[in-house]
Amino acid sequence: MLKKSHYIFLVCVVLLVWALLQLPGGTMGKLKLAISGLFLPFLSLSNSTHEWLGNASEGLVPKSELLRQNAQLRHDNQELQLRLAQDTQLWTENARLRGEVGWARQTRWRVKLARVIVRDPANWWRSLEIDLGSRDGLRANLAVLTADGLVGRLQSVGETRSQVVLLGDPNLRVAGIVTTGETGIITASASAPQEEGMIDLDLFTGASGARPGQIVVTWGEGGVFPPGIPIGKIVDIRPKEYGLSIEARVKLAADMGALEEVWVMLP
């Protein structure tokens, strides 16, 4: 059924694909962003429809409900302004004390809001694309978070879009620290890798004081993630490798299944 010319054609296609598979990571990332750029008109259309539907549904909210929400937001705003004033005072005091001791000064987080445009269609990865890129000052390896906690880091950055690897993906390892001071590495959950809200924390210390309910935050070692970003809460702890090390299951603070907008931490 297949002629000789068909076989030559097929061999050429296979060789081309094999060459693509051998591309280095950076080039492949840029090529992927260029190809996925074909979906941009569809994404714009989808976003416009989403916004239009949102506006249409907002028109149905009664005025009394809007006034109630407005009053609540004013109240929250005043409370947050009071907290901010207190935090500013603490921040200044902290900077002065750090200067006296000779420690490095801490810098405030600079963040930029991004919208999630697509999620990974494959079942064996955890990643998504956002609508910010190098044009907005982004570069690879920046931390991505929500108000609840860490989400992931930028894997590849195009001009207008970037790919984010999420916590729970095998390509992302984060150094974490428990409130009691134990440190470890956050990895994809070995017991239930497909459960989006759960990850594992491999603790470095054998006799750990970590307990369920304690908070895990980023350690800051490694230079990718600044210290103190909330990661999640310990659910349970179990021995690993015949009791030589300890593994804690951590429930992520951020809801990975419902990500629509994320914050990118700028350098």
């Binding site: 598979l21 074909l38 999620r119 269609p121 494959a122």
Partner: protein, 183 residues
Amino acid sequence: MNWLPTIFVLAAAFVAVFLEASPGLFRNLLGAQIDLLPALMVYAALTHGLTTIVLLAVCGGLWFDSLSLNPLGASVLPLLLIGLLIYRSRDLLMREHIFAQVVLGVMAGAAQPLGTLFILLNKGTAPLLGWFSLWQWLVMAAGSGAATPVCFKLFDRLRRALEYQPVIQSSFRPDREIKRGRV
């Protein structure tokens, strides 16, 4: 060659990949995303030529991989292999029967992720795999099986709507007309 059917198949693949990448119902409900490309490949391999099969495998695979953390090209070869295997034996397959379409769809939907994972593991990457992957695999196979007859129905309707319909031969022949009455 009429390129219109090939363009329709490629457009369907493009929309399918876009829908798979959108946060959707299936992913939240079933815990797995259904891949529609194997179902499209079954349709293309049973009804179109080699060019359409290769174009679908290359374009569909690259579009899918561009939105995923898969290395670029990882989905192309399994799709191409599925298409070629069906194409080689399509004269023996009862392509009009829904049961045959479902079985082929299930087989293609089951083979596609296995082939991609084989390439990923050989490339040294470590995808998320566990016992739950079996469930995802079953959902993908069943989803592909269900989507294949839908593809056939959809494209058949499209073809009928856009192609010239064959002229129905009438049994009337003027030379056989019986003339009644006197000449």
